[in-house]
Amino acid sequence: MDAILNFIKQPWPWYIAGPLIGLTVPVLLLIGNKSFGISSSLRHICAACMPAKIPFFQYNWKKETWNLFFVAGITVGGFIASFLLANPLPINLNPQTVADLQQLGVKDFSHFLPQDIFSFENLLSLKGLFFFVIGGFLVGFGTRYAGGCTSGHAIMGLSNLQWPSLVATISFMLGGFIMTWFLLPLIFSLF
């Protein structure tokens, strides 16, 4: 039993995690005719909590309650994995990534997120403005504008061979490259 637990506690390689994520597509389709997609949950929250007579939020969100259960489950799963099945060792990052980020000004590499950026103390600072407020806003605004996120387009859409999803996926990656290579150095130079 301990051997199994120790095995699970190790970081999972891509060839285990990827296929498991891919299997979510048929599992959701076959147990309830549901299309995999996570960013829609944000829309359902808007529709349920503050529709404000905006047409985009006038629909039967109750029919999509399953999606809210799904993301609640992801939160619980995150808790279980981080507190009961955690890998005791630090993340094994490419030393070049560590060096590049150190050069930018990132100091902490001990958790999933750099604590010198993602902490409550930074909430009202310029760091907080960029990484929480603007970053989060771009994720919510961009995914809905694009009609989906990594799950809805890159995984569900591509699985169904939808070319607009390929366009979306390429755009996601391009946006990420632009931020990482060109904008992050500018943003970090502000702190």
Partner: protein, 168 residues
């Protein structure tokens, strides 16, 4: 003038076509209790996100800096399994557990996939998270990400508000 009106109407029809993205195609209603199964799938999914370190801001940086194959392997193998599964469901006309035909949605192209996609990409590299991992990060104890999630909800809301004025 009439052309303008026609164009406007066409634009409206196009918008309406992408207005609703129903994800739930099950005909028979599901009770509150039935939703528990989606909670359980979500739990397993969240565990995978954390154990494969997809929730790590650093892993996303590695991906965008082309310094690790990990994330490309995760997404690539997920898509391969997804493509095969969808093909099998279509080829053998596999039904849902309640005996319904599985419904697939075609995506219609609009400029939003490019503009919105780029904007999301910028946010992805900043936050180190797409919407799924945001939830898993909060569950992992990074409570400050609740603020990021609230910003993301606000972003979705503002999109809904401005939608008619944005190019699609």
């Amino acid at each position: 003038m009439t052309n303008d009106i026609l164009e406007q109407e066409e634009f409206k029809a196009e918008l309406e076509a992408i207005e609703f993205e129903p994800q739930n195609e099950q005909h028979s209603g599901e009770s509150f209790k039935a939703n528990i199964k989606y909670l359980i799938i979500g739990v397993l999914f969240g565990i995978v996100f954390v154990k494969a370190e997809i929730v790590s801001w650093f892993r996303i940086q590695e991906m965008f800096r082309l310094q690790s194959f990990h994330m490309y392997g995760v997404i690539g193998s997920a898509v391969i399994v997804g493509v095969i599964s969808v093909w099998l469901i279509k080829r053998f006309n596999i039904k849902t557990i309640t005996g319904e035909n599985v419904i697939f949605h075609s995506k219609t192209f609009n400029k939003g996939q490019i503009i919105g996609g780029l904007l999301f990409g910028l946010g992805w590299a900043l936050t180190g998270a797409c919407p799924g991992p945001l939830f898993a990060q909060i569950g992992s104890g990074f409570l400050v990400i609740i603020i990021t999630l609230l910003s993301a909800i606000a972003g979705t809301w503002v999109y809904g508000l401005l939608r008619d004025k944005l190019p699609h």
